[in-house]
Symmetry: C2
Subunit: 203 residues, 2 copies
DNA sequence: GACTTTAGTCACAATAAGTGACTAATTCGC
DNA sequence: GCGAATTAGTCACTTATTGTGACTAAAGTC
């Protein structure tokens, strides 16, 4: 782990020792989002730094809990501070134990949801400590996007977005030139207005 | 109507004559999407040309049907062919009768979902007849996006996307030069690969 | 035929992105 | 101490993409 997204699974004793996504039934008077934050709390002892609903899944077949539909959420926690409680284990997102088809598609949609929101919410910034180097930030984006980015392009885009400001501190990482530390401090700026896009390939 | 999105509401007699989004309870063995297509069929006599789940809503308060959570979908139909059955009425998306807060947020998310998918699925093309003029296509995009587009930019982007091909037919709309007709016929092309974007403004 | 209206295209400017090469500051091996 | 290696940070140049006004084309109106 550390340079790849992970997925937290739990081994359900009731179901022939299969791994599954952590879940819990809703409690009365609670929003779905609050319930899903509670799942994270129970599993890791802390809430996610970001969470979003993936969608509702229901096809007539019932969930073990006897619920007719399952509502999936994706949340993120920084790996360092997130030590799983007993019964929970981290797996690499791309190499986890077999899941039911429904859960597998939830995991796939989770990745897509993260990557689609990355340019709309400061997800990467909240996964990092309050101060960070630009290389750390870039590595976080690369981890989340699952692809390499060009250093100059990344920094140019970051600069144009007025999202970080340098602080008067440097950090030496052993070898190489020390890196300046930055802090997330978004400034007001005009919303980029783009025209149409036709990004779909097939009907 | 005709140059704005509409929302189809139904007047529920049970609930003090309030307008509400069309809904129905799920039937066993049916996916959520199939159920929502059935809602459209019952209301308009035809299925939507595109449909997508908006999300699940649940906050402890129950829906009139006694369901604990509601799963909302957004679907589109061309206005011309979609004549509502008794009890259903079209309203302009931006000026409809008061709804419950939950339903109001569903309507808002519906608009955002449409606009967010417009560049990823040929929604606009399916709302038009098989052959259409480029001005009609542009007007459809403008209607769905809720903003004006520049003619030259629109056509340039369309050309780059290899999505339409001209047919050997022209249509005269009364005054002005006759417009050439086009048909939707997407060609293979390489997926555009973009770098990072930082499009969010606030934490 | 002059004027209006809609279609369709062009050319140029402005922005944004991709990319390699460069300079800077440090550690490591010797 | 000194050069190689390593990481940070920036520059300059190229290429793509987008915004935009102006232009030409083909019809109808009067």
């Amino acid at each position: 782990m550390g340079n790849e997204l992970g997925v937290l699974l739990t081994r359900s004793s009731s179901e022939r020792e299969r791994w599954s996504l952590p879940w819990r039934p809703t409690q009365g008077g609670e929003t779905l989002e609050a319930a899903s934050i509670r799942v994270t709390q129970d599993a890791l002892g802390e809430p996610p730094i970001w969470i979003e609903q993936i969608g509702a899944f229901g096809d007539g077949k019932r969930h073990p809990s006897d619920a007719e539909i399952s509502v999936a959420f994706v949340g993120l926690v920084p790996h360092e501070t997130a030590s799983p409680r007993a019964g929970y284990t981290w797996f690499p997102m791309g190499d986890h134990p077999p899941l039911t088809p429904r859960q597998r598609s939830m995991v796939e949609m989770a990745t897509r949801t993260i990557q689609g929101r990355l340019d709309q919410a400061p997800i990467a910034f909240r996964l990092l400590p309050p101060t960070f180097t630009l290389s750390e930030l870039q590595q976080m984006y690369e981890l989340l996007l699952g692809k390499r980015l060009h250093k100059a392009s990344f920094r140019r885009a970051l600069q144009a977005a007025w999202l970080v400001e340098p602080i008067d501190e440097w950090r030496s990482e052993g070898r190489g030139r020390p890196a300046q530390l930055f802090r997330y401090s978004p400034k007001k700026r005009r919303r980029p207005h783009r025209g149409v896009r036709f990004d779909f390939l097939y009907p």
